[in-house]
């Protein structure tokens, strides 16, 4: 089997490069296209479970006819449940046959262009992500600017939303488009900064290099420390970067709690108010494809790419006399089934997206801006500077000094945090200010604690 696959790959390597490239691109795009309905079903079922509802569980249940003689007797008249798995197909058929209303006063060219522009970056985004260690098949282009490419294409995603909002010739969709462009530009910066720290630690912008870097021993440990892999989420700087990237990735895909461009209670439906039928569906396909790809980016950059767990099976197999068969088997499974582990991590990312949507309420606009500019960006910049300092110190004074720097930095940050907390303490109940967007703070009202207690009771 494996030999046959190897022969197949050798043959494949001899094909003309253009055909190879097209096949690589199809191998990326077609699975995403077929998985999007599955993601929608997964989101609806998981969301309904989290919200204590039933959710779509009916479409696809069927009973085999009792009188068909062709079936074996045990199957006749049996009920089968598909857990509503065909619901997305039913939804798709509904969307296809809905009336496609084009409002009279829209800018027609841009109105038709916008959904396509929303879909394009979502699919183009994944071109540099490796789904396994097969260089012939998986990153569509293993260029030396992989992360930068990802940032560039994700910044194009704003056009679909902005133009959709403009073309509708509707005040609410325009507001949605404006909000989204402001939001995406703000969060792109922190995303770039958080990835820059990882790029600094890797020393390369290539995605495959990042995965290779994460297969090194954890924290550069020697001896039996080599059992663990250096996934960036397990390192202090990578953990901070990962959290920042996670927040920015939710904001970049316009998902709850950052779904201000489509806030129903404020903007009807936001930028896609004037879209119906298939064009509306195309927007949603773009959104779900972008969720999928951003989860893939997170898995590649922070969660060790296509490795299943942060354990070096090869090292274990070489160093354990008893279980080396098992560990060798795990090593080969990690390599041969790598796309499955990658998709597993992506599903974990999608679950995180849905969990977030079920848990957090939508942010207010000023909160969104304040988180982006006042928390995420300074944190990402500080993290970037810390990584740079760490690299400088370990290059100059050895890796022990580098690890010492992290300990000192952790102690300093913890002390500062406690200090700030102790200063901040107690001020919460007495002073209550409401600060509107950009306006003056409301006058400070001295609150009598007894009256507060009275009012509460």
């Amino acid at each position: 089997m494996i030999q046959w696959l190897q022969q197949l790959m050798e043959g494949f390597a001899k094909w003309p490069p253009i055909v190879q490239a097209v096949i690589r691109a199809l191998l990326l795009v077609l699975p995403i296209l077929t998985l999007v309905p599955g993601i929608i079903w997964y989101e609806r079922r998981l969301l309904s479970w989290m919200q204590d509802r039933i959710g779509p569980n009916r479409v696809g249940n069927f009973r085999l006819p009792a009188h068909w003689k062709i079936l074996p007797p045990g199957l006749r008249g049996r009920k089968f449940k598909l857990f509503g798995l065909l619901q997305p197909i039913a939804d798709g058929v509904k969307l296809f046959f809905k009336e496609d209303v084009t409002p009279a006063s829209v800018d027609r060219v841009i109105y038709f262009l916008a959904p396509a522009l929303a879909l394009f970056p979502a699919f183009a985004l994944g071109a540099t992500i490796p789904f396994g260690p097969y260089t012939l098949l998986t990153p569509v282009a293993d260029v030396n600017i992989g992360v930068l490419y990802m940032l560039a294409i994700s910044s194009l995603g704003v056009y679909g939303v902005v133009l959709g909002g403009y073309a509708g010739n509707n005040k609410y969709s325009l507001m949605g488009g404006l909000r989204s462009s402001a939001q995406l530009i703000s969060y792109e910066l922190s995303m770039g900064m958080s990835l820059a720290a990882i790029v600094l630690a890797t020393g390369s912008l290539r995605m495959t290099d990042m995965v290779a870097m994460q297969e090194q021993p954890l924290w550069g440990m020697g001896g039996y420390g080599q059992i663990f892999q250096n996934w960036f989420i397990l390192t202090p700087y990578g953990f901070i970067s990962g959290i920042i990237f996670l927040v920015c990735m939710v904001a970049e895909t316009n998902r709850a709690p950052f779904d201000l461009p489509e806030a129903e209670n404020e903007l009807i439906a936001g930028y896609h108010t004037e879209y119906s039928s298939m064009k509306f569906a195309v927007y949603f396909m773009g959104e779900y494809a972008a969720m999928f790809i951003f989860s893939a980016v997170f898995a590649t950059v922070f969660l060790g790419g296509w490795n299943i767990v942060p354990i070096n099976w090869g090292f274990l197999a070489d160093n354990s006399p008893v279980l080396n068969g098992l560990f060798g088997f795990m090593k080969s499974m990690t390599i041969y089934l790598s796309p499955i582990w990658m998709v597993g991590k992506i599903i974990a990312g999608l679950t995180f997206y849905i969990w977030l949507r079920a848990t957090l309420p939508r942010l207010r606009y000023d909160q969104l801006m304040s988180i982006g500019w006042r928390s995420m960006l300074p944190l990402a910049t500080l993290n970037f500077m810390a990584v740079a300092t760490w690299i400088f110190i370990s290059a100059r004074y050895g890796s022990a000094a580098g690890i010492g720097m992290w300990v000192v930095a952790g102690v300093v940050v913890f002390t500062l945090w406690r200090l700030l907390k102790s200063i901040d303490k107690g001020a919460d109940l007495e002073v209550r200010t409401v600060k509107m967007v950009g306006g003056k703070p409301a006058p400070v009202v001295e609150v009598d604690p007894e009256r507060v207690a009275e009012a509460v009771n």
């Binding site: 800018d107 060219v109 841009i110 260029v143 030396n144 600017i145 930068l148 490419y149 940032l151 560039a152 294409i153 910044s155 194009l156 704003v158 056009y159 902005v162 133009l163 909002g165 403009y166 325009l174 488009g177 404006l178 462009s181 402001a182 995406l184 530009i185 792109e188 912008l205 950009g438 003056k440």
Partner: protein
């Protein structure tokens, strides 16, 4: 038609270049000739995007992607943002407008500038036969090395200039609480 007598050999690269350059030219013309500000801006977006692909064909991935990040992804989004904020539609003009003196003068000045630049650039470009940059030209490592060794001071000064610009714009946009 004898293809071998052409000054340039017709290769697939030339075809791709002509396609990309044609799109870039057409969109550049569109920027000027569309009356609707949004469509002009979109043509400019297309122009920048296609320019990035021209850089890709020259093996300058870094330059192309920076073009997309900076111009297509950031600057043009801000352009669109401002245009949408002002809600500029198509300009309404009378068709039988009198021929403006500015038009011929502008065209002549433009042609003069074009011929001046072309007379300096084209003779140099004709000589270049290799259509691609050497390997690793403009790779992130090479750019970083150059920026932080040979051009350290210009780079730092440019950064400080940008910082001053940001601080200045914040100062201008700041709301004064006690006028």
């Amino acid at each position: 038609m004898d293809l071998s007598k052409l000054p340039v050999k017709p290769t697939p690269e030339l075809g791709i270049f002509l396609l990309l350059a044609g799109i870039a030219m057409a969109s550049a013309v569109g920027v000027i000739f569309f009356r609707n500000a949004i469509r002009s801006a979109l043509c400019l977006v297309l122009n920048f995007f296609v320019l990035a692909f021209l850089y890709f064909t020259l093996n300058c991935e870094m330059l192309g992607i920076v073009q997309i990040v900076v111009y297509t992804g950031a600057i043009m989004v801000l352009f669109l943002f401002v245009i949408m904020l002002l809600n500029l539609g198509a300009i309404q003009t009378d068709k039988d407008e009198k021929l403006d003196i500015k038009l011929p003068v502008g065209i002549m000045l433009g042609l003069g500038l074009f011929s001046l630049i072309a007379s300096q650039i084209v003779p140099q470009m004709i000589k270049i036969q290799t259509p691609k940059a050497p390997d690793n030209f403009g790779s992130p490592q090479a750019v970083g090395n150059t920026l932080f060794s040979n051009y350290l001071y210009p780079f730092e000064i440019a950064s400080i200039l940008l910082l001053v610009g940001i601080v200045g714009s914040i100062l201008l946009a700041k709301r004064r609480l006690n006028p």
